[in-house]
């Protein structure tokens, strides 16, 4: 077998540039998708008229269509109705919309842990619905749904590889582009798999630390 380490060393700067794009697009999408998740879950649970139904339709649309089709819809479809996003923002919008739908469901599951008694207690203390959500429901729901939110965020990070199809120069794009030029298949795919692994592990460690931090008040 000839595994050319020197080749990888030469391509390392290009891979790191790809990694930077992957991290940027994923981090931004993870944050935005959690915001959508919170908003959607709140609307769904509080049965906000119109918005609740809109979020339901949105979740079903995203969960029942392939991510690649959603990406092409954003990248090639939206310009025909006059909305042309850059490569980067096409990626952010698609990944955010995709993960956002799952986060709505994750957080809705967490909010189910907020019992009726808590709700009544909150109301009797004079908390308005929004304050109750912000001060009581959301902190509980986030603790409960953190593991599944992490799952979705990991999937988002890995699914950012799809963005190579629209030409965004993220990590997988760099690998496939170089393979098409130099045919160093095993070197490149091995390298990006290791990089993704490290990235996802870092994300998991971060989320676990956050989970431990959030659990602090409840530890005996």
């Amino acid at each position: 077998m000839d595994f050319d380490f020197d080749y990888l060393v030469r391509q390392w700067p290009a891979l790191m540039r790809g990694l930077a794009i992957t991290v940027q697009v994923s981090a931004l999408s993870i944050i935005l998708s959690i915001a959508i998740g919170l908003l959607g879950a709140a609307c769904r649970l509080m049965r906000v008229p119109v918005l609740s139904q809109l979020f339901l339709g949105y979740v079903e649309f995203i969960r029942n269509t392939p991510l690649l089709a959603q990406l092409f819809l954003v990248f090639y479809g939206l310009p025909t109705i006059g909305l042309k996003l850059s490569l980067f923002w096409s990626g952010v919008v698609t990944l955010t919309a995709w993960a956002g739908a799952y986060q709505v469901e994750n957080i809705r599951g967490g909010l189910a842990a907020v019992t009726k008694g808590l709700h009544e207690a909150g109301l009797s203390l004079g908390l308005r619905p929004w304050l109750f959500f912000r001060l009581v429901a959301a902190p509980i729901a986030i603790r409960v749904s953190l593991p599944s939110m992490l799952n979705t965020s990991i999937s988002l990070l890995k699914n950012s590889a799809y963005l190579q199809t629209i030409g965004l120069a993220e990590l997988t794009f760099v690998a496939i582009d170089r393979i098409a030029m130099d045919f160093r298949t095993i070197e490149m795919f091995a390298a990006i798999c290791v990089i993704y692994l490290v990235l996802v592990l870092a994300l998991s460690i971060g989320a676990n630390a956050l989970e431990a931090r959030l659990q602090r008040p409840f530890r005996s």
Partner: protein
């Protein structure tokens, strides 16, 4: 071992045949060397051709393989096995063609394959059978009139193509948008995500002739040779293919295939690339 003897006899016969023909009419006729036993024993010629590169290799309305390179594959099949139906064509893409060959899914590639040193590292090439240049496809009203006009603009290209390589080496500062398929590239050009789409001139000429909103810039660059790709260490097979390519040219087969698959208004371009010597360019 009987094999070398048999080959000697065939060669002698072939030589005798050449001499007989030469005495009959003065035109020199290439005789095909013996077919390698490994190919002959398969009973069928397995060739990789393109499915999305008209007029070289594509699929017609019925999903049948069509185009000049598909005809070449069938012709070689006919010479090897006595019938063009003994050719088993496989659809290959720019990315998977070399892996398909090296995984022994096909025995040869006639698949718009340009000769490059990187590819020569992993496969062997026959003699070139045509040359092909690159060009730029731009919107009709584009200010781009020559190759250098793309400086400071975005050029769309496909990953791993001759053009991607050429721009990387010759205009490394250029903004590029690299996509996976011709239809993605064309769509992106029409939506203004790039100022020009660079690909093989032969492909772009077909697109421009069908789409009144687009035109060819017309300055060819990165001219390369297209050749048949075969696996490494199959010298007998390469020799056979080389002889077959010479025979195609001698017999004037290319003109007929071009007339069969290319509309009259753009035919001359294709006749030139198969029959005329390669021009000088950047």
């Amino acid at each position: 071992m009987l094999k070398p003897n048999a080959r000697t006899i065939v060669l002698t016969l072939a030589l005798l045949g050449t001499m007989t023909i030469a005495t009959k009419d003065t035109a020199a006729q290439t005789q095909l060397p013996p077919v390698p036993a490994a190919i002959k024993s398969q009973g069928v010629l397995r060739a990789g051709v393109r499915c999305d590169q008209p007029p070289y290799g594509f699929q017609d309305q019925n999903g049948q393989f069509a185009g000049i390179e598909a005809e070449m594959a069938r012709q070689i099949g006919a010479w090897v096995f006595g019938s063009p139906d003994k050719t088993d064509l496989t659809c290959v893409t720019a990315e998977n063609r070399i892996p398909q060959l090296n995984a022994k899914k096909v025995d040869l590639l006639i698949a718009t394959l340009g000769v490059t040193p990187e590819r020569a590292r992993v496969i062997d090439f026959s003699q070139p059978y045509r040359w092909g240049g690159s060009d730029l496809l731009v919107p009709q009203n584009s200010p781009i009139e020559k190759l250098d006009d793309v400086a400071g603009r975005t050029v769309i290209m496909l990953k791993g193509t001759t053009q991607a390589k050429w721009f990387e080496e010759n205009m490394p500062k250029l903004d590029t948008l690299k996509l996976n398929t011709s239809s993605d590239a064309l769509q992106s050009l029409k939506q203004g995500r790039g100022d020009a789409y660079t690909h093989d001139a032969a492909t772009l000429i077909v697109i421009a002739s069908k789409d009144p909103d687009l035109r060819i810039v017309g300055e060819q660059f990165a001219i390369s040779d297209a050749a048949v790709g075969v696996r490494k260490n199959e010298p007998e097979w390469v020799a056979y293919i080389n002889a077959a390519l010479v025979k195609m040219k001698e017999d004037g087969l290319y003109r007929g295939w071009v007339e069969k698959w290319v509309p009259a208004d753009i035919r001359q371009f294709y006749i030139d690339v198969f029959t005329k010597p390669r021009p000088a360019a950047r």
